[in-house]
């Protein structure tokens, strides 16, 4: 018996993916350096290891994360498959009761105080949801094309989302949408992913830039970009589904782009007027033309594309009235906060601007460890949590920041590789779920700091200060590493 266990332990270390561990440790090291930079105080010089400082505390979190990782590797990999639903259920209950016990921290009801520590279950529930999803979708005979199973799959994802929204942590809730990338890998039609991404893009761009005028032309930048996107998406779809040589594609490309450019130039140099009307008419015309083609040539693809364009148009025009008329004021405020419109009444993006200044000041080589001034002067809000990437940009410069991004990319690509080599669907799906969560966090967090995505307060994995998030990500990653390490023990009993 003892020998068997010994061999099993050996097996884990042997088949463990050390590349991922290497990247993990490298990211943690970079992360700790950034925390030092962000929370460093000139007064406490040389005291970065003190437990009074955030950098010291972060060391504690990192140390405990290593212990957690080690323990996870020592556990049997099959417990996750076996207990996936139970773990998921427990976390749903925890998420449900959290708002009743949570202390209100700046409007968020997600922190539970246990002893002297505060803990956020939402960070761990990601892992539980990924397990449940993997378990459900890996059942033999599962097919997403059956309504019942598709609905169950969505339910597994959306129940925690709703519970977390009830804790007023909309940002953390949105992370779960990343699991749709997993669904895509497992067979969800690509058009659904495309439609979803388009809808989010229309919404974010449309609302965020609704009231920004385009130079002297009296029209909203948001509306213009959204209509332009719809036009371009239509062209793209025609190209993909009807072939490069399609006649309608050529016609629409030439006349469409031509008319847009001409009217835009006319509005810019001659008489300023609202160009969006031209775009709207043009799009409606395309819809009509495609419908006509669909009837004439009996090509249903034309019809589907026309429908896409029409639905996109109605969606983009419905956003504003729904936001202003249907939603309650407090719901509207929440959406505006999410898009960074509310914190920032001047609209110029003070916070994001500060972040950009901090990053921009880093230059090619950066100012060096602990030498950043912008972040230390507390010009950047949340500089050691959500806006931590500022410090990387300022102190490590372009090279350092790019290196960090490439490390993340390497981690994500490695995870895809690992997921694909799993012999069982459970491991693969879980692996993709882990990858999706990391990708989503990276995309939103760094995008927000760089002023590319809305300001949604979610942490940057391994960088942002805090025990809950670090443990959450470690848990997510090491469970997968443990499952991966067992891939060769294919003889299951």
């Amino acid at each position: 018996m003892e020998r068997l266990q010994g061999r099993k332990g050996e097996g884990v270390w042997k088949s463990l993916d050390w590349w991922t561990i290497l990247i993990y440790v490298a990211l943690l090291a970079f992360g700790w350096i950034s925390i030092c930079g962000a929370s460093y105080d000139f007064e406490l010089a040389g005291n970065i290891f003190s437990f009074d400082s955030r950098s010291g505390m972060q060391l504690v979190w990192i140390g405990t994360s290593f212990v957690l990782g080690f323990v996870l590797l020592m556990l049997d990999d099959r417990i996750y498959d076996t207990f996936a639903y139970i773990i998921y259920g427990i976390f749903l209950i925890l998420l449900f009761i959290t708002p009743f016990f949570a202390r209100d921290i700046k409007g968020s009801l997600s922190w539970i105080k246990i002893g002297s520590f505060s803990i956020q279950f939402a960070e761990f529930a990601k892992c539980a949801t990924a397990l449940a999803l993997a378990k459900y979708m890996s059942v033999y005979g599962y097919s997403m094309s059956r309504m019942r199973e598709a609905l169950m799959t969505c339910a597994i994802i959306f129940v925690p989302i709703i519970l977390i929204i009830l804790q007023k942590e909309t940002g953390s809730a949105l992370v779960y949408l990343a699991f749709f990338l997993v669904l895509y890998r497992e067979g969800m039609p690509g058009s659904i992913l495309f439609a979803g991404i388009s809808a989010v893009t229309y919404f974010v761009v449309g609302v965020r830039y609704a009231d920004v005028p385009m130079w002297h032309i009296p029209m909203s930048v948001g509306q213009f970009i959204v209509l332009l996107l719809i036009f371009l998406f239509t062209l793209g779809l025609l190209r993909v589904y009807c072939g490069k040589t399609d006649k309608a594609l050529k016609l629409i490309t030439i006349y469409g782009i031509g008319s847009i450019v001409i009217t835009f130039c006319f509005a810019y140099w001659v008489i300023p007027f609202d160009v969006t009307w031209v775009l709207l008419v043009l799009s409606l015309f395309i819809v009509g033309y495609l419908c006509y083609l669909a009837l004439r040539d009996r090509v249903t693809n034309y019809f589907y594309i026309a429908m896409f364009t029409l639905v996109s148009l109605s969606f983009s025009y419905a956003v504003e009235p729904v936001l202003n008329e249907v939603l309650q004021p407090h719901q509207r405020v929440r959406i505006h906060v999410l898009l960074g419109l509310e914190d920032d009444p001047s609209g110029a993006g003070y916070n994001v601007n500060q972040a950009k200044i901090a990053i921009g000041s880093g230059g090619l080589m950066g100012k060096g460890f602990l030498n950043g001034t912008q972040t230390k002067l507390k010009y950047v809000p949340e500089q050691d949590t959500d806006f931590i990437f500022c410090t990387v940009g300022e102190e490590e410069g372009f090279w350092g920041a790019s290196l960090v991004l490439l490390l993340f990319l390497a981690l994500i690509l490695r995870l895809i590789y690992l997921a694909e080599r799993q012999p069982y669907a459970f491991g693969r799906i879980y692996g993709y779920a882990v990858m999706s969560v990391f990708l989503f966090h990276l995309f939103i967090n760094v995008g927000m700091v760089l002023g590319l995505t809305p300001v949604i307060g979610i942490p940057l994995p391994f960088f942002s200060y805090g025990g809950s998030s670090l443990w959450g990500f470690t848990l997510l990653l090491f469970i997968f590493l443990r499952i991966d390490a067992a891939r060769n023990l294919s003889k299951r009993y």
Binding site: D41, I105, Y184, A348, G360, L364, F398, A401, A419
Partner: protein, 615 residues
């Protein structure tokens, strides 16, 4: 081969990740290398966010008399990184502080555990609320102290020494306030008690901010983006209270040397005309840097002057409660106004005895109120709780009774717009089931019918009872603030709350209370020319009885409803009635007649001796 098709999707997902990272790197490149704007911004310019404090709203009484206003004060701020070559002794002398204080304060500022937002490069509060005189000395020499700045603030000033409990005070925010509300920063002021706390959001206004640019040496270079990000401070809203300053002043005079409370309400609107809690203190003690010291002193006083007894004191309402009983019995059909009950020295039932004073027997309702007959109300409760035709058990009857009390404003917080209100106590059937393990009946609990036993209420609730009688059947939630500048009152302060007793039945109670003034227990409260209605209360407790009174006037179209409660004051007629009558006279006539003035002086100087034990 479907699975193989799907496996290809890994390339799509991988490409997505690569695309995102590539996009970010391009963006980084354009921010960090292509453009010099940001670098210059950061190198030469740093921002200084200068907070513009709004003036806090002022508070006046119902007649426009100023109660609370602002006067200028100055905070001394320090930027640690700029402090150099400071002549500490000279500095301390200028500010009138000791060297020890200076050292302690400097280390406190640097202590990150206490001062969470500390940065060497931003302004930190060194000393707050200097008076203009103190500040002028400092201002003359300020150029000698690099790194020290001043910030103009305003402090609260109280025009009079009255109504301390109602007005409350402001003080520095606690770390918890800062954590819970993004609006506050260390050193900000926040309402701590009374109206100042309840209407903090309206009074404080909205802080403004100037985003200034400064160069590497800290010199101000003008507004960032030509002031596009600046926000003007929005002044706080002014409040008009329902209080009548003269009435409040008289109330506080009369309550000198006593413990207790006087609350008066305008029945038609629910506005609180006066809210006296004795002992009281001078609100001017709670201003500026002395606040902490004085607050500590007051909180150590065994008579608890900081306690607003009007809403936090919970007393047995005594006989004033009998009015509510009569109304309940009438509405439930237990008695008619002409129903007679015997009283031979009290309520006697199978050996149980609850005493009463000598008067004619048997008597109907009106004289029973006028003479405050205990037995009448005990019999009422006895017959109500014992009526098995109407209520299936004593528990049902008890809870029915409880519903009436709650509808009259007892047992729960009324919802006055002041922090710290208590709810009083109205027992229900479950309470007695637990206390007596189910073995109880009307006789067991009969003392609740005369406002004793388990029943307790705040003086505000007792005054509110007087208001419901004055209104013949409804009340408007009592409130201190009559008007907020440019903002409507909360709708709960404009809506009528009905007691569930027909206005018809109230007339008997009103007659009884009028009778009490003319020939009953309240004779000493009769004022010629004013139709006062009143009811005494004498609440038994461990020591000397509490003296209570409720009343309203005039009888028709009442202008004022009042409750007086004097701890250990003896009979209701000893303090309650005369004090209540003086207050009513003051409010209705706007002044006291010479005789009444003399009487007021007598009561002002008649002090009750209380022990110094904690109460």
């Amino acid at each position: 081969m479907k699975s193989y098709e799907l496996e290809k999707r890994k390339y799509v997902i991988g490409a997505m990740a690569i695309g995102i990272v590539l996009l970010f790197i391009i963006r980084l490149f354009s921010l960090q290398i292509m453009s010099d704007d940001y670098k210059e911004n950061a190198d030469s310019n740093a921002f200084l966010k200068k907070v513009q404090y709004p003036s806090r709203g002022i508070i006046t009484d119902r007649n426009g008399n100023l109660l609370v206003y602002n006067s200028p004060a100055y905070d001394i701020m320090v930027v640690m990184s700029e402090v150099s070559a400071l002549d500490t002794l000279d500095f301390c002398e200028t500010l009138g502080i000791t060297k020890e204080f200076f050292d302690r304060r400097m280390s406190e500022i640097k202590d990150r555990r206490r001062n969470l937002g500390y940065s060497r490069f931003t302004q930190q509060l060194f000393m707050s609320q200097l008076s203009p005189e103190e500040f002028s000395v400092f201002h003359e020499k300020q150029f000698r102290y690099p790194g020290f700045y001043s910030q103009r603030r305003s402090v609260r000033q109280y025009e009079t020494s009255y109504a301390a409990h109602v007005l409350g005070d402001i003080g520095e925010v606690s770390p918890l306030d800062v954590k819970n509300d993004d609006y506050y920063q260390n050193g900000d002021l926040i309402g701590k008690q009374g109206v100042e706390r309840a209407y903090e959001k309206q009074l404080r206004g909205e802080k403004g901010v100037q985003v200034l640019l400064r160069d590497a040496r800290g010199r101000i270079k003008g507004h960032y983006l030509e002031g596009k990000l600046d926000r003007k401070a929005v002044p706080g809203k002014n409040l008009t209270l329902g209080l009548d300053l003269k009435l409040q002043a008289l109330g506080e005079r009369l309550m000198e040397g006593k413990l207790g409370s006087i609350v008066a309400i305008e029945p038609a609107t629910g506005e609180i005309l006066c809210m006296v809690s004795a002992p009281t203190y001078d609100p001017r003690m709670m201003v500026g840097r002395q606040r902490g010291e004085n607050h500590l002193l007051l909180s150590k006083n065994p008579l608890k002057p900081l306690l607003n007894r009007s809403i936090m004191g919970q007393y047995p309402p005594g006989s004033t409660f009998k009015t509510s009983q009569a109304l309940t019995f009438l509405q439930e059909g237990v008695i008619k106004p002409h129903t007679l009950y015997p009283c031979h020295g009290g309520f006697l039932h199978r050996g149980f005895r609850l005493g009463c004073h000598a008067h004619a027997s048997p008597i109907p309702l009106v004289p029973s109120i006028a003479t405050s007959c205990n037995a009448y109300f005990c019999w009422g409760l006895y017959y109500m709780f014992g009526n098995r035709n109407k209520y299936e058990s004593v528990q049902v009857a008890m809870n029915k009774w409880r519903d009436y009390m709650v509808n009259m404003g007892f047992g729960y917080k009324l919802g006055v717009d002041l922090p710290g209100e208590r709810r009083g106590m109205i027992p229900n059937a479950q309470y007695y089931d637990k206390a007596y393990r189910g073995a109880w009946n009307a006789v067991t609990v009969v003392s609740i019918s005369i406002g004793q036993g388990e029943v307790s209420a705040t003086p505000l609730q007792i005054a509110n009872l007087a208001a419901t009688i004055a209104n013949r059947g409804y009340f408007i939630t009592p409130h201190i603030v009559k008007q907020i500048q440019n903002e409507p009152l909360d709708s709960i302060y404009t809506h009528r709350r009905y007691t569930g007793v027909d206005s018809l039945y109230y007339e008997s109670i009103v007659s009884g209370m009028r009778q009490a003034i003319l020939s009953g227990t309240c004779r000493s409260g009769n004022i010629p020319g004013v139709e006062i209605c009143g009811k005494t209360g004498t609440a038994q407790n461990r020591g000397q009885d509490h003296s209570a009174f409720i009343g309203f006037a005039p009888k028709d179209n009442p202008q004022i409803a009042i409750a007086v409660y004097v701890e250990n004051g003896g009979w209701g007629a000893d303090y309650g009635v005369p004090l209540g009558a003086l207050m009513i006279e003051q409010y209705l006539n706007g002044e006291l007649s010479p005789e009444s003035e003399e009487k007021a002086r007598v009561y002002q100087n008649r002090h009750i001796r209380y022990g110094t034990t904690a109460r």
